[in-house]
């Protein structure tokens, strides 16, 4: 009743009317609940930031003994950081490019033309999006050994692209459905081929959609550990997701400060990319909606 009449939460006036104070109380409770959750979630994150700056980092969150960039200095060498990051970039960049191009091409006929094959194809794609890729890594390894593609960048790129493709096609098709057909029809009557209209009209109009597919594919691959762990063998080809384990395995004493510094260097690109697209799409990230269909 009066509830609908009181101004929305942005108001600063605390009136002593019952609904308003009830609302304030409820908001305070919600704030408190969220802050508790935030505190629990932030602890591990605080560790990585503080330890990276700490000359004597250990395993627990503590105020650093002094602020230093020595840890970053120590890890920012070609061998520890730059080569793995470059490998990650080649691997994920190549596979993302392949994924996005194939997905855009495939999405176009699915979105624009009616065919009785569309539905079965899309159902298969959707089915494939939810298959656990982890489960097929052992046979993929065996297959790659047999066809001599094990320990090759291109083999890993192809597999990455294939594993990401179902979801990319699905997302791309949904975004493409949002571009009105009428715009293209004008181009068609002017004699443009469908390839031209895809390139010149549809893709530019769905720029944010393409950005989401690109960034999402890249972020998924950048963080993927199991695929390169299985399909690549030689250390000089390893991406950062695998090479980070060397901090534990080969170097004896674990230098936690350096591990933390490396984690930050390795994670920053994907966090930034995420911020970039989530800003553009207004916080909620279209993914939630896209996943629902």
């Amino acid at each position: 009743m009066t509830d609908t009449l009181t101004p929305r939460p942005s108001t600063r006036t605390v009136r002593r009317t019952t609904p308003a104070s009830r609302r304030n109380r409820r908001r305070a409770a919600a704030d408190a609940g969220l802050l508790v959750a935030a505190a629990a979630f932030v602890l591990p994150l605080a560790w990585v930031v503080l330890s990276a700056l700490d000359p004597h980092a250990s395993l627990r969150v503590k105020v650093p003994d002094g602020v230093t960039l020595d840890n970053f200095d120590a890890v920012l060498t070609p061998e520890i950081t730059f080569t793995p990051l470059l490998n990650s970039l080649i691997l994920c960049g190549g596979a993302t490019l392949l994924t996005v191009v194939c997905a855009a091409l495939a999405a176009y006929p699915l979105s624009r033309f009616r065919s009785r094959l569309n539905r079965p194809f899309l159902l298969t794609i959707l089915f494939a999006t939810s298959l656990p890729i982890t489960a097929i890594m052992v046979p993929v390894y065996a297959l790659f050994v047999r066809v001599n593609m094990i320990d090759t960048m291109q083999g890993t790129i192809f597999f990455f692209a294939a594993s990401q493709l179902p979801f990319a096609i699905w997302l791309m098709k949904n975004f493409m459905d949002g571009v009105p057909k009428e715009l293209e029809e004008a181009a068609w009557t002017d004699g443009a081929s469908s390839f031209q209209s895809l390139l010149r009209i549809v893709l530019p109009l769905m720029g944010p959609g393409v950005a989401v597919v690109t960034v999402f594919s890249f972020v998924m691959m950048w963080g993927n550990f199991f695929v390169p762990f299985m399909l690549l063998l030689s250390p000089d080809q390893m991406p950062a997701s695998v090479s980070i384990n060397d901090f534990f395995g080969n170097r004896g004493m674990v230098a936690y400060g350096q591990l933390a510094a490396f984690s930050i260097v390795y994670s920053t690109p994907v966090v930034l990319l995420y911020v970039l697209i989530s800003r553009r799409l207004g916080g909620g990230f279209a993914l939630g909606g896209a996943v629902k269909g």
Binding site: D31, F41, F225, Y274, G284
Partner: protein, 313 residues
């Protein structure tokens, strides 16, 4: 033109406006093929690198293929499967996978995600932004980094014990005594953001009038949640549960970094068991049989998920 041929014509089909094509029936066939052409790179890639391995998986799950020193593998029928169901380590892995999935996906991520999303509906903007940012950061971080952060958190000399100490509560060597609980919490930490985003989107779609009407009728918070909110977002709940479960079933890196599946198999879920059999014990055939079982479970969930989305394709 022949765009109205049976089966092709549906509501909303564009008739005269398709790109110019040579007429006639052969023209139609050729045009359909031509139109389908852009799909082919994707199809080739999917067939070679996704369908291929799956078929290969089915084949070698029935062989005794090993990693080294074997001239030719031979067909062994269901041996790998009967062996698995007699193998205590396998049954242990099945049980742990179940515990891990129920704890971290069904209970943890799902409930916490819903709780956070509904609190966010009421919270003030700065708090909402801050919490959302922190939770989503945990989600965006690479899997291995998340693993390290939580390894540090749960270690005997790590942050959790420091906090417990400060609260005068008993401490433990979590990764040793309760590794499956530790990795489940790790998965909750990492995966809650997804549920939170899905539920936030779903809750935003509930018309304000509905909740307000219930409020006027004097329904308490819990009753509103149970009788109004939950039924209205049930489709999102189904979707979210499916996707969470599928994602959780295939977690490898997180557990690998935190515990390697140990100590003595106490956090060895099916993916880690599969890996150990295939590479530490060199039994590719056996490992693949386990992989096939995992794939079947995944497909089952996948089919249920498709049914949930049925109306939308």
């Amino acid at each position: 033109m022949t765009a109205t041929a049976p089966g092709r014509a549906g509501p909303g089909v564009r008739k005269a406006s398709a790109p110019p094509a040579s007429g006639g029936r052969t023209g139609t066939v050729r045009r359909s093929l031509f139109r389908a052409l852009p799909v082919s790179p994707a199809v080739v890639l999917l067939l070679l690198f996704l369908a291929g391995p799956i078929v290969y998986c089915v084949v070698i799950a029935f062989t005794d293929l090993q990693l080294t020193g074997q001239a030719q593998e031979s067909f062994v029928g269901f041996d790998n499967f009967t062996r698995a169901f007699k193998d205590e380590a396998f049954l242990n892995a099945v049980w742990l996978t179940l515990v891990f999935t129920v704890l971290s996906s069904l209970i943890g991520q799902n409930t916490l995600g819903l709780a956070l999303a509904s609190l966010m509906q009421r919270a003030s903007k700065p708090v909402r932004t801050l919490t959302g940012g922190i939770v989503v950061t945990a989600w965006v971080l690479p899997e291995v980094v998340a693993g390290f952060l939580l390894y540090a958190f749960f270690r005997r000399e790590g942050t959790l014990n420091a906090v417990l100490d400060w609260l005068h509560l008993p401490t433990q060597n979590w990764l040793f005594t309760l590794p499956i609980l530790a990795v489940s919490f790790a998965n909750v930490w990492r995966g809650t953001a997804f549920s939170m985003l899905v539920y936030s989107a779903a809750l935003n779609e509930i018309p304000k009038e509905v909740t307000e009407a219930a409020e006027v009728d004097g329904a308490s918070g819990w009753r509103r949640m149970w009788h109004i909110t939950l039924p209205m977002i049930r489709r999102s709940i189904g979707t979210n549960l499916m996707l969470n479960t599928l994602q959780t079933l295939s977690v490898f890196g997180l557990i690998w970094v935190m515990t390697r599946g140990g100590p003595s198999g106490k956090s060895q879920t099916l993916p880690l068991f599969m890996y150990e059999q295939a590479f530490q014990n060199s039994l590719i055939g056996y490992g693949t049989a386990v992989a096939l079982l995992l794939l079947l479970i995944g497909s089952l969930f996948s089919v249920v998920y498709l049914r949930l989305l049925r109306t939308e394709v």
